[in-house]
Structures are given as structure tokens and as C-alpha cells.
Amino acid sequence: MDTTDALWTELTAIFRRSLDDDGLTLSEKTTAADVPGWDSITHILIVVAVEKHFKVKFTAGEIQRLENVGQLAALIRARKT
């Protein structure tokens, strides 16, 4: 998992905006429990923003199975290749 590439940078930007935290850093293992403000509402907005920005669509099942940010990034990457 490359956490320095464009995808990761853009993903971090989306999280920062949706969670209103400019200094937020994400790691592969980051989960909602680790980040203040990441509740069910912001989660929905993050998913919508990710789908819009990367021009991908996830299934309901895929979203429900996500356990951390790393898996989200992997899902995006899989869609884009």
C-alpha cells in the first residue's frame, strides 16, 4: 500500500474537508473510532465525496464491509485499474 501517491493525498484531502480538520493524517489502519467527528453522518458524506471525486460507485455491501481507510483506498484503486 503506497500511502504517498496521488490517490492517498486526494483521499486525505477529502477526509480533511469532510471532517473539518486541516491537520488530519490518515494511516491504513485508521477507523472511525480513531477520528473525532467521524460519525454516521460524516461517514455518508465522505463516501459520497469519494465516489464523486474519483468517479467510482461502490455497492452497499462493499461499504458495509469496509473496516478501515486502507481498505477504502484499496477499493478505489481496484476500481480505477
Binding site: 473539518d20 453522518i41 455518508i44 458524506l45 459520497v48 452497499a60
Partner: protein
């Protein structure tokens, strides 16, 4: 007013209420789907438009409980309006469980439900804003569905027709047209099935800002916040080309060049004018050149009689707009300025920060779609007298011209031959009176807004005296120009409402009204009249109103003893036997 922020920005704004809002709105939101995103977006959008919104969110899918139970938390909150959102998607699923007979009767049952909710809210003086139904497009029947009475699409459309009908019948029932929004934005913009089936959000986050914007406008309109006037440039705005250079036969209108786009724009403006929006022209042109197309071009839809104030000269547009305001007395925040020239737009934006100056697209084909997308003309009331507003302003311009001929104000006023009809609130004038209390911002002592239902109650009240003043002069009919509501409070008559149209300032109307108020007091054996001025950002002009009428200051209030009061001079004749509401 700038571009609408996206939902993330609006949710962030929602957490930052304004310390000094122009207005605080108070509403309830009831839905049978998840409403947190809509609620947050509503608060944020209100904030973006300069208001605070105190919003009560009902429990999920507990609409009847909240509305029908008089002891509900919703009613304890005392909202001015309640927004009710029933999701068509929920109905679509229910449809599957219904028999064919039930499906065929669905719209009828739905209408009963809506009317029941309206009745309960109306009985408590609360406005209802009801979402109509956006078609989920299941295509069980395809186009054939139009032939089938129990098809979902047929029934949903009937539901929407029933809602429209109720909106026409009841002044306090308003439809939020989600179906129209879906028609222009598309189903995919409105609905994300994944979001609905996992989290019960029936509206996609991307569409929420526009939904919120229009709901906030509907909430704010009865409080006096809405556009009243459009100021229009001419060259390349109302027609293609420059009339002074291209000549009358080469400006683009009708079928010539981009003519169809300009003709469509004029048609839209004409319909605005017909509903009472005031059109003014502000053009850098010789007056004669500017008027020529209106007078002679066969493809001009707008004519001079559609334009309330016509200003064409070589002065800067800011000065001209001030001139226009001097005649129509609408505040800058209620105006929209339309001009194809970005430099002119910037100048006007800087000179009048509260004015709406949209960044008109370069392509005239986009004028109407773009301006329509801003939904600038949401309002709470419309009466048939609105169509006369343009003529009223035109005659006002004539009076202004006449004034120039007199040195002595008294002589000018006598020459006007003004006469006044005084009446109490009566059913025929309830809508217009309510509308005035909602529109009037400047000459308004206490800025109390009333709905039509509240005006009807006041008319019936034995402790209130209600007065309307309609003035004519030899130039024309000014219509209803002043409204006064008096409340009997012990030994005194308290002035709850005193508002007046700014167009009749300086004509002696205030003095005439005061004479009428004193007479009403005397008829009831009341010896004291008490007035109050509640300052707002817009009514500074009446700060000294009571002082000028020789009331004495007493604490925060103004007192006039009727003993020894002599009628003030006003060059206005009383037109009929005065009818004052009796106790």
C-alpha cells in the same frame, strides 16, 4: 448572494449561528425518512442567506403523532411553519403490498391525509410547507401507465394535483415542488438508492443545498424577504447588439440571429411583470434610441407600459439606480440587476452590496435557464392587485415630474386632489393587508408580520381597531397605502401596527391617519394613545415618527393625550363615511 456552498460547507456553517441575524426563522421538520442531513443543510443555508433558523426535528416517521397531539414537542416548540416531507420511495414500496383497488384509491387517501395534517396545523396558526412527490420511475407500466388508473405514476401525479389544489384553496398551505426539481435536475441527482436502502436518506446529499435554499426562501418570504424589482440593461441584455450602432432593424430579436433567445428572455420578464415584479430599465443610451425598439420593433414583447421606471442616459449606473430607488422606494436588497457587461455588474455589486447581481452567462441562450436556476422570486403571497404594481409606479413617476412645477409644497399637494377611503379589515382586503405587513420594511413602526389567518382574527377581535387607508389622486389610484392596528389596553389605545407605503411620504398621510386614530379613540372614550418604535436595520426613517407628530416620550414609548387634540392639516379629503371596527 453568491454561489450556493456544497453540503459539507453548509453543515459546517450550521454550527456557527450568526450573532446578529437579520432575521430568526422558526420551523419544524417532519419526515418519514432520515432527516438529519436535510436539517443540517437547512440551518447552514439559512445562515448562508443571513438568517438564523431554529429548527425542530421530529422523530423519525412520527408525523401524525407530532402534528395531531396538542401536547407534542413540536407544538411546544411553537414553530411558525412546519415542513412535511413524505418520501415517494416509501409509498412505492407500500404500493406493492396494496390491492389493485387500494392502489386506485391511493391519491384520494393521500389527499385526506394531507388535508388532515393541514387542518391540525392551521388550527394552531402554523403554516404548512408540504413536499410533493417525485416519481421514482419504476416503469412497471412504462408509457402505458398513463392509461391505467392504479399505476403508481398516475396516482403520484394525482396526489400532486391534490396538493396543488389545497395550496390554491388554503392561504397557509404551501407546496414544495420536489417533482419540478427532479424534472430539472434529473432523478439521479435527487436519489441515491444505496443511501436510501442502507441509511434511509431519501434525498441525495448533492441536491440538498438547492432544496434547502428554496425552503429557506419559502420560510423567509412571509417575513418580508423577497425580490420585488428587476433592473435591466438594454443592449445585449434585452436584445442582441447595440441599438445606437446597429440600428432598429439589425438588433437581434424575433428570428434574427440570436433573436429567439432574447425573445424568450423578454417573455420570462413579461410574466414576472404580470405577477407584480417591478421592471426598471437602466441603460447607457440616448433616451430616444433606448425607447425606439419598445415603440417600433415588431418583435419586442416588452412594451413601455411594462416598464415601471425607464432611465436611459449617460450617467453612471449607480447614480441611476439611486434615482430609480427614489421613485419606487424598494430597498436595494429587494432588487436584482441584470446586465451583460461584467464591469457594470461589478460596479453595481460594489455600490449596493445587498443587491442581487447574478453573473449572467455569456451566451444569451442561457439567460433564462440560469436566472431561473436561482429561483429568485419565491414569495408568500400573491394578490390580484400585484399585477397593477407597474402602473402604480408609472403614475408615481408622473407625480414626481409634476412636483418639479411647484415651489410651494402645499400648493403641489392641493393640486394632487387626494382623497382617502378608510375601512376596517374586511374579507376582501385580508390578503392585501397581510401581504403589506409582510412586505413593508421601511415605514413600519413595529414590523409585526401577519398571515392572512391572523388578519382575519384581528378583524374579528373586540379588543382591536383595524384601519386600512386607500388613496387616490388625480393621477391615479395609489391603492392600499397604510395599515394601522390598534389594541385597547386598559385606558389606552396601543398602536400595534402603523405602516405606510414609502411612495406617499410627505403627502400628509401620516397626519390624516393620526386624525383617524384619535377619532377612533374618542369614539371609545379612550383618552390616551400609546405608540412604540422597534428599530430594525431597515426602518430608521420612522425613528422620529411619533416625535414629529407631537407625541411625548415616556420611557421607551410615546404618548398622546386626546383631550385638546386638534385635527392636523392634511390636504386629503375623506371619501366616504368612515367605518371603524366597532367593539
Amino acid at each position: 448572494m453568491s454561489d450556493l456552498p456544497d453540503i459539507t460547507a453548509l453543515l459546517k456553517l450550521a454550527k456557527q449561528p450568526l450573532p446578529n441575524p437579520a432575521l430568526t426563522l422558526r420551523a419544524g421538520l417532519l419526515a418519514d425518512s432520515a432527516s438529519q442531513l436535510l436539517a443540517g443543510t437547512l440551518r447552514g443555508c439559512a445562515r448562508h442567506l443571513g438568517f438564523n433558523l431554529d429548527l425542530f426535528e421530529g422523530e423519525f416517521d412520527q408525523i401524525e403523532m407530532a402534528v395531531v397531539d396538542p401536547a407534542s414537542a413540536l407544538h411546544a416548540f411553537h414553530p411558525d411553519a412546519v415542513i412535511i416531507y413524505l418520501a415517494a420511495e416509501k409509498i412505492a414500496v407500500k404500493f406493492g403490498a396494496c390491492s389493485v383497488a387500494e392502489r386506485g384509491a391511493f391519491a384520494e387517501e393521500f389527499a385526506k391525509r394531507a388535508r388532515g395534517l393541514h387542518r391540525a396545523l392551521s388550527g394552531r396558526g402554523v403554516q404548512t410547507i408540504f413536499f410533493n412527490l417525485a416519481d421514482p420511475g419504476d416503469e412497471v407500466f412504462g408509457n402505458h401507465g398513463n392509461k391505467v388508473s392504479w399505476a403508481l405514476r398516475t396516482q403520484l401525479r394525482l396526489c400532486n394535483l391534490e396538493l396543488s389544489r389545497l395550496a390554491r384553496e388554503a392561504g397557509d398551505f404551501h407546496v414544495f415542488d420536489l417533482a419540478a426539481l427532479q424534472s430539472s435536475a434529473g432523478r439521479a441527482a435527487l436519489f441515491d438508492p444505496k443511501l436510501y436502502f442502507t441509511s434511509k436518506f431519501a434525498l441525495a446529499p448533492g441536491i440538498l443545498p438547492v432544496v434547502a435554499r428554496d425552503l429557506v426562501k419559502m420560510l423567509a418570504a412571509p417575513k418580508g424577504v423577497f425580490l420585488k424589482c428587476v433592473i435591466l440593461d438594454l443592449d445585449n441584455t434585452l436584445w442582441g447588439g447595440v441599438v445606437a450602432e446597429d440600428g432598429l432593424d439589425r438588433i437581434q430579436l424575433g428570428d434574427l440571429g440570436l433573436g429567439p433567445a432574447f425573445t424568450a428572455f423578454q417573455s420570462w420578464l413579461k410574466q414576472l411583470r404580470d405577477r407584480g415584479i417591478v421592471l426598471a430599465v437602466c441603460s447607457k443610451n440616448d433616451d430616444a434610441n433606448a425607447r425606439e425598439p419598445f415603440l417600433k420593433h415588431p418583435d419586442m414583447l416588452l412594451r413601455l407600459e411594462d416598464i415601471a421606471v425607464f432611465v436611459a442616459n449617460w450617467d453612471d449606473k449607480a447614480s441611476n439606480i439611486r434615482r430609480i430607488k427614489g421613485i419606487i422606494e424598494i430597498d436595494y436588497g429587494s432588487m436584482m440587476f441584470v446586465d451583460d457587461n461584467p464591469a457594470e455588474r461589478q460596479l453595481v455589486r460594489e455600490s449596493f452590496p445587498t443587491m442581487l447581481v447574478p453573473e449572467l452567462p455569456e451566451d444569451p441562450s442561457e439567460y433564462v435557464p440560469f436566472l431561473a436556476s436561482l429561483n429568485p422570486f419565491e414569495t408568500a403571497t400573491y394578490t390580484s392587485q400585484d399585477a397593477h404594481r407597474t402602473i402604480e409606479y408609472q403614475t408615481e413617476a408622473l407625480r414626481h415630474a409634476e412636483r418639479e412645477k411647484f415651489v410651494d409644497l402645499g400648493a403641489f399637494l392641493r393640486s394632487l386632489e387626494m382623497s382617502m377611503v378608510v375601512r376596517p379589515f374586511l374579507p376582501f382586503n385580508f390578503p392585501r393587508v397581510a401581504q403589506l405587513t409582510q412586505r413593508s420594511n421601511q415605514f413600519n413602526l413595529r414590523t409585526v408580520r401577519y398571515t392572512e389567518q391572523q388578519i382575519a382574527s384581528l378583524a374579528d377581535s373586540s379588543t382591536h381597531v383595524t384601519l386600512t387607508f386607500e388613496m387616490k389622486d388625480r393621477f391615479g389610484d395609489n391603492g392600499l397605502i397604510s395599515v394601522v392596528i390598534l389594541e385597547v389596553k386598559g385606558e389606552a389605545l396601543f398602536v400595534d401596527t402603523w405602516l405606510m407605503s414609502c411612495r406617499v411620504l410627505g403627502r400628509g398621510v401620516e397626519q390624516f391617519v393620526l386624525n383617524t386614530v384619535v377619532q377612533a379613540a374618542r369614539e371609545r372614550g379612550i383618552k390616551r394613545i400609546v405608540g412604540e418604535y422597534l428599530p430594525t436595520s431597515k426602518n430608521g426613517m420612522v425613528r422620529d415618527h411619533y416625535a414629529k407628530l407631537d407625541f411625548s416620550a415616556d420611557g421607551g414609548r410615546w404618548i398622546l393625550e386626546t383631550a385638546g387634540y386638534a385635527d392636523r392639516t392634511a390636504q386629503i379629503a375623506l371619501c366616504n363615511d368612515r367605518e371603524v371596527a366597532h367593539t
